[in-house]
Symmetry: C2
Subunit: 1002 residues, 2 copies
């Protein structure tokens, strides 16, 4: 039924940066890419963010640069304008402000101002270094008058000091001695970018928003105090400067309107560098009493000057050394990738708020896209990265959510619900999403945050956090579900969650979004279990909390009831989980007739048009199957993947990484690699063409997820850490580290094996492909992942025995009774065909008009005949060679499974007397789909706890061979030419099968 | 399953206007109600609209008045602000402007300015007269200094002259002689009301919008020219004045800023009136070249002065005489109602644009609610009123839609669709709805307009309009459906229309809204039929149009295919049509715990909350059942009515009239009357508390609909005009007129009969309760509607024969075979119970575990036994007295129907030999619901073409009696006490039944 093709998008423009493992390097200046490069070369410490602007200012064409400085969490608000408003709409927008520009250092060479657009640029290099944490530039410039200087600039935003940034600006006359002037300044006259048309950039303010209240100059030290109007924040930016020169110099300081500057004029000598150091501090009333701000900022820069520039660089380097020790992923065989992974991890560090009062914005602190807002991106994409590399940071992210709990309670109340509902997009916790169908309706945010909390607890055992903050958030959000959902009679009184929007924003306002329901179920179970555990282990804390929340005893059991009865629809026909109640009743998007330049769809089609079709912006059901992987079988993942993947545009940057992870999990490693590369280099290659507006922090973390949770298959359920590593053929090795429960684990994967090494902490039991492994420090464990035969899965009919004759006889008897012609030739058409369909084939030769009920009755009658016939089966009916094969396999401890679609399999096995050899018989009645769907073979392997690649399946029907291969196993085809044609190996007769051959083959 | 209660809303404040059949009269001035009264006393001619403001200005508190003058279709536009915009959103808002205030006539009495808030108001009366079309005021005022004057003001907006309004202002000194000054003015300094918070009022402009370009004064004549910025219209308002006094006077003219005035100072004598006449004209560049406007306006007022004031009043009276001749509805026994019906019809005339370029705004030209926009209200509610009273006006409304067809084409293109999509709300045709889920998503607007076109053609045979305008609109809108809908595999490849919002705006963005699908089906059939008819009868016109539209031959057949395969869901369990695919899967709104002051819900709950529940703002399925009444049976109407009525808040003023109509149709006349009264006096009683923002034009028309289509049951299908009159017990008679196909028909309904009189035109065949009647001029036809026995409907089992014994024996045989205890006592429980449920009762005594299929098989087996047993039935098995009764009924031409739920009824009738007596046997297998649902008896009556009230049903089971009574028939209960208890009459035995008794009873 699907006509849609998976669409491969071309990347925008190939990267201009040479591959360098620890740096991004730009060797020439390009106006065309400058706007984007400003994002790439941005520096930050999770609080202060500088775009990669030039200290000397920018004289290029309008629209090729955004001079930006941001403070995480520092915003102005303003009332949202609605064409048509309604009750409960989000009232205020919040915009992260472009704050006081403190990057300014202007250079005059013998009176001529340095500019990239005048004179000659003889050399240019800009470097962002992930190990030093410094952005530096080297330039050789010849002024229009012919005076040549070498310039070397360093900039760092101090990772150890939230409020501090530092600059080193060095100018060396090359072909002259003369006057060099360096003007270091603060400029309060700043405003946000005005971008219209693209909903992802957001409508910002027009004109200046910050009111400048005071400009102070005190020698080389200066400060500007500014204020916001609506959010009522005060901001102070201070600078200190120091000139380093052997020559004479003159300092002139001054304030002008909203500017403060320190102008150093130096009598410079040819070949002798002049160096200016500049320290900048930002303090706001979000953190401190507003009267202390000036003092704090001044003290900060004074202290920094005292300390000296080099101390700060050393501190920065040390900090990053520790960071990389826990964070670095190494890939052998792919330098482009290696670079981007470090680039991503570095920017994530630069973006993440670590003070417990801020979070991580969609664009970090590198640009104005999405207005500096925090989304579910944090918990769903970025949180795991920090949790498994720097759990202390991940705690801070959860602490932030706790600070906004009161606002979440208020929001729930506005919506006439109990409990708390977290804001879909926000800075300070208030809902600011002006389009509720893709804002407030994304109720899953509550479950997403609580999922992160659960993972955090499993990975850290930080019960102190749970008792102090976590439980309160958990209970308030759980009661929200119970209040907003309902037991719906038309869905057998299952618990339904109606009128929501799931992760896929190309579908909105639906009932029972699969992701939402499954996540809510997990959330409610977690809440119930936590309440139970607290009552047992921390009853006083629980009682106090219950009193505070007015939490009734019945509520906690309501959580469990709702979870138990959570409605999860399943479509029998397709064998998949519908994304929501109505999804499969929609038309499939016409991908074939959608021009390439009409992506992303949201910029070319009205929401009503997009909502009307089966088309996904991003992973939805698949995201549920990743996060809640233990609730779904591999067969389900495969089947749903194939359905939804074909419908997904990946118009959201949050999509490819999830598809990469799932591709890896279902064994499509090449596909996983493709999706991973889109994720990993999304920003460096500017895949979506909007890096200028800021980095994609979630996608950056998604690259980490794709490796650790994708290729290495790391999962954590119930505190157990599990891996199922695969490796793309492009790589020789990959290696990463995981912090878990106080341990630091190193995992290395090669095409042949996986090594687990514990770098610190107590012995850890982890699970490799389902099997437990104990790892201790100094005792790495290497597990081979080379294929070996661990299990053989047999079809029954035509492989172990031949019941075909009995089927023929049973049908023959029925046909005779109905007076329908039926012979062995017609019988051939029945092979591999289900019971009712077989009957329909037979009825082709009849004029009988039968109802479905009557047909069922006839099919049952045939089965009764068949069952009487197979009563006669004896051990002699086992086909030649099979009994020996079973015995040999058993002797070698190779497991044996029976994967037969026949509902009479158990009876036949009993009659054949081979039950003792079989380690498992799959219950065909419990399957969602028959062959050629791989479910039956996957199930057999799962029941035997054997990796699929270590199984061989033996089949006589083509659909059976397809089923085996679909399961990622090797197939032996027996006897039937159509099956033998596509099988990995073929035999004419079962007597040709032997253990030796099977071992040889694999 | 329903816990919801129908909620009766209290009216806001009882009407202060005394009941007066032809006028609204206000005898005292009340600041509290002034804002509202300004709407009530508004005057207009479908183009110019004056709120009922005082000529002397208003000095009352802020918020108690809106000085307003409007021109239908004259607006300013401005870009809509979206917090988060998206592709294809409506770009511009349009707001009907408050234009140049020309009402001003200030009065000074010996230098003291008249004001309602100073001095003493000794007498006050304000009157709106529906026959003269004049709003007049009588006042006696004593100035603070003690000078007393009588004031008499008249105002009219000329119904015959689009651009003209006229005033007569008379002042008579009562207790003094002295100076009276009258200042007549135009004021260009006007602005729209700023109302925030209520989405229904709409966000208007802040401050003055019209730019005043010129103020001209030329003696007593003056003009102001103004301009809009974005819509680029020019407006000229001119005035002429004339004083009428025997005394000396002095005229001083002048312009000041944006004002022009003529000041008459008169030396008035005690007892001698001073009278000022004023004529005002409005001309805009929407109608004429902007350079001609001043000249046109001046000429208009000059001509009016020439003509004299009295000629204009005579013209006005004549116009209204003709209007009422076609329009007036007379009610005997309800003066309050009589007043409101005329009030409504008068305001509808004042509101309707009759120039083919304008339409009728939701609030007419009386206020700023909904910004002067046109909605589907026109075609669905207001159009029928004009169609059946003044078809020439209804044509103008359709012409307006044609003028916006190009904009509708553009809108379709923006939405990536073929054809045309009319704007949900607009003035000039451009979509201006800023909230698409209750705007663009209401795609049904296309079908609504085309439905009006169809009705227009049936009522006028105006093929010229069809060929010139109608077909083009019809084809373009039809191709839109085919493009946006789809054949959906999961709905058996039926044609589905997904992602729409139906009339009920408390549910949004759903699939297969019943109303939308049924209306679209009708629309597509109409388009196909029209294309076929044109090809046959006007092939050249068709070919030209097809070329213009690039219409392929296959497209017209696509219309028919989509109509044929239109998906209309039916819920077997409830026996109703779900409002949409997901409606019944939602929770029912908790009406019981919703405080009275939380209505309308939209002002107290977030849309997400409202959308999540089964709760209706207004009629939806029921509206489909009204408009497409011939596609639904009475049984369906009853069942759906009872389901949806309980869920409807009537938060929309469009709701009660539809429920009134349906209530009348299903025989709930009291209920119909209640809903009707809410509709009829909605504005006079200010039921929703927002009359201040303007009249509710749709609801006003709804009152007319409620009488003509509700109580009188008028329907038109396929050109046939039908009536099914009922009359509320409160009335002695009601009478109305209908223009149809060139005739003028008068219909009078009393409790006893209905009279059809043709006032003009050729003989008309109409249908009274399904029976054709020919009416010619001078030959009125009176049809009795008093109950008389026309049909007797028999249950079979227990009434005509007793097959109960055979059922018992058949069950007994089955039970014995299954070895289950079964006796006559248990058998009693099976009476009136279906086959499968009976089996379940029997199985209570068994431990057998049976599948549904197996149960079906057993039930079939029992039926086989039963069928063999009833083979033995003979005519002797007819119960005593029945045969005679059947014979007697047949002799008296009283029809006989068999309403038996038994699927073996035909066989039993045959065996009994009574087939010859039966005029119909209902096919029980074709029914949606069994007894006690009334469907079976309703079906029998329908098949016999007998009104329900003229049927008697005879039943032996309680559920059967309930079924009869639910059908609005009288029931005879036979034998069984539980049935006899609730029956209208009861007999112990069939032998007691006789024709005489039945005739007596009825």
């Amino acid at each position: 039924m699907q006509t849609a093709q998976r669409r491969e998008r071309k990347q925008n423009k190939p990267s201009i940066y040479p591959y360098d493992e620890w740096r991004v390097v730009e060797d020439s200046f390009d106006v065309e890419t400058n706007y984007r490069d400003e994002t790439i070369f941005a520096t930050g410490n999770g609080y202060i963010g500088y775009r990669g602007n030039f200290e000397e200012g920018y004289q290029g064409p309008v629209g090729t640069s955004l001079q930006g400085t941001y403070l995480n969490g520092f915003y102005e608000s303003h009332p949202i304008q609605y064409g048509e408003s309604a009750y409960g709409y989000a009232k205020n927008a919040q915009t992260m402000l472009n704050v006081t520009d403190s990057k300014i250092i202007n250079v005059f060479v013998q009176g001529e101002q340095f500019s990239l657009f005048e004179g000659k640029l003889l050399k240019y290099q800009r470097v962002l270094d992930f190990r030093t944490g410094i952005m530096h530039r080297e330039m050789t410039w010849e002024s229009p008058a012919g005076n040549r200087v070498e310039i070397h600039v360093q900039r760092m935003v101090c990772l150890e000091r939230k409020h501090l940034a530092a600059f080193s600006y060095e100018v060396t006359p090359v072909n002259f001695s003369g006057e060099i002037t360096l003007v270091s300044a603060l400029n309060g006259q700043v405003q946000n970018q005005v971008t219209l048309g693209d909903p992802r950039v957001g409508s910002a303010f027009h004109g200046q928003v910050l009111t400048t209240e005071d400009v102070v100059q005190d020698g080389s030290l200066a400060a500007i105090r500014q204020r916001t109007q609506n959010s009522r924040f005060t901001l102070v930016c201070a600078m200190e400067n120091a000139i380093e020169t052997g020559n004479q110099y003159h300092l002139e300081v001054g304030t002008k309107e909203q500017m403060a500057s320190a102008e150093y004029t130096v009598d410079a000598l040819e070949g002798v560098p002049v160096r200016l150091h500049k320290w900048v501090a930002y303090y706001t009333s979000k953190d401190y009493d507003e009267h202390e701000l000036v003092q704090l900022a001044r003290a900060e820069v004074a202290e920094a000057r005292e300390l000296g520039y080099d101390k700060l660089t050393a501190e920065q380097r040390d900090f990053l050394y520790e960071y990389w020790k826990h964070t670095d992923i190494q890939i052998e065989g792919d330098p482009a990738l290696q670079q981007s992974l470090r680039f991503n991890a570095f920017h994530l560090l630069q973006s993440v708020g670590r003070d417990g009062k801020t979070n991580i914005a969609a664009k970090g602190v590198t640009g104005e896209g999405y207005e500096g807002h925090y989304f579910w991106d944090t918990e769903t994409y970025i949180f795991p990265f920090f949790l498994y590399t720097h759990p202390d940071i991940s705690r801070k992210l959860l602490e932030y959510r706790y600070t906004t709990l009161d606002k979440a309670r208020m929001r729930a109340k506005e919506l006439a619900h109990k409990g708390a509902l977290y804001a879909w997009r926000t800075i300070d916790g208030e809902e600011t999403s002006p389009y509720f169908p893709a804002g407030t309706a994304a109720y899953h945010i509550n479950a997403d945050i609580m999922y992160a909390l659960k993972k955090y607890l499993h990975a850290t055992n930080d019960t102190e956090f749970l008792l102090k903050y976590g439980a309160e958030m958990l209970f308030e959000t759980a009661r929200f579900w119970v209040d907003m959902g309902a037991y719906i009679p038309k869905h057998e009184n299952q618990f339904c969650i109606n009128e929501v929007t799931g992760p896929d924003e190309y579908t909105a306002l639906v009932n029972n979004n699969l992701y939402t329901n499954v996540m809510a179920k997990d959330h409610l179970e977690f809440a119930f279990e936590t309440a139970r555990w607290m009552k047992e282990n921390h009853s006083q804390v629980f009682t106090r909390l219950a009193e505070k929340l007015n939490l009734q005893d019945s509520e906690t059991t309501d959580w469990q009831s709702a979870a138990d009865k959570m409605y999860v629809a399943f479509d029998e026909e397709y064998g998949i989980y519908p994304q929501d109640d109505s999804f499969l009743q929609k038309e499939v998007w016409d991908f074939e007739n959608t021009p390439e330049d009409h992506y992303p769809l949201l910029l070319h089609y009205h929401p009503l048009v997009i909502y009307r079709y089966q088309v996904l912006k991003q992973a939805d059901v698949m995201l549920a199957m990743f996060l809640q992987g233990n609730r779904f079988t591999t067969a389900e993942k495969k089947r749903n993947y194939h359905y939804y993947e074909a419908l997904t545009t990946h118009d959201s940057s949050l999509s490819p990484c999830i598809y990469s992870i799932l591709s890896a999990e279902i064994g499509e490693v090449n596909q996983a690699y493709g999706y991973f590369m889109r994720t990993a280099r999304m920003d460096l290659d500017d895949y979506n063409g909007n890096v200028k507006d800021g980095i994609h922090s979630a996608s950056m973390a998604g690259a980490w997820l794709s490796i650790v949770q994708g290729f290495a298959g790391m999962r954590e359920y119930g505190g157990k850490l599990m891996f199922r590593p695969v490796i793309p053929e492009q790589w020789r090795q990959y290696q990463f580290k995981v912090s878990f429960a106080g341990r630091l684990l190193r995992v290395s994967v090669t095409p042949k094996d996986t090594t687990y090494a514990l770098e610190s902490g107590d012995t850890l039991t982890l699970y490799h492909e389902g099997a437990p492994i104990d790892v201790s420090t100094g005792k790495p464990v290497t597990v081979s992942t080379e294929p070996k035969l661990e299990a053989v899965l047999f079809d029954l009919d035509g492989v172990i025995t031949d019941t075909a004759e009995y089927h023929y006889l049973a049908w023959k008897q029925l046909a005779d009774e109905l007076k329908i012609d039926f012979d062995r030739k017609i019988n051939e058409r029945l092979k591999g065909v289900g019971r009712l369909d077989s009957l329909n084939i037979i009825l082709e030769n009849s004029t009988l008009q039968l109802s479905e009920d009557e047909k069922k009755a006839l099919a049952n009658r045939k089965n009764e005949y068949y069952q009487s016939l197979i009563e006669k089966i004896t051990p002699d009916d086992v086909l030649p060679g099979i009994l020996n094969l079973l015995k040999d396999l058993q002797e070698r401890n190779i497991k044996i499974g029976l994967a037969s679609a026949s509902k009479n399999a158990v009876l036949v096995v009993e009659k054949l007397g081979i039950g003792e050899y079989l380690d498992t018989i799959v219950d065909a009645a419990a399957l969602q789909k028959g062959k050629p769907d791989p479910e039956i073979f996957l199930t057999a392997a799962d029941e035997l706890h054997v990796p699929y690649r270590n199984c061989i399946g033996i089949e006589d029907a083509r659909s059976g061979v397809e089923s085996i291969q679909g399961a990622g196993m090797k197939a032996v085809g027996v006897g039937t030419p159509s099956a033998m044609d596509i099988a990995d190996w073929a035999v004419q007769d079962t007597s040709e099968l032997s253990v030796t051959k099977l071992l040889q083959w694999i």
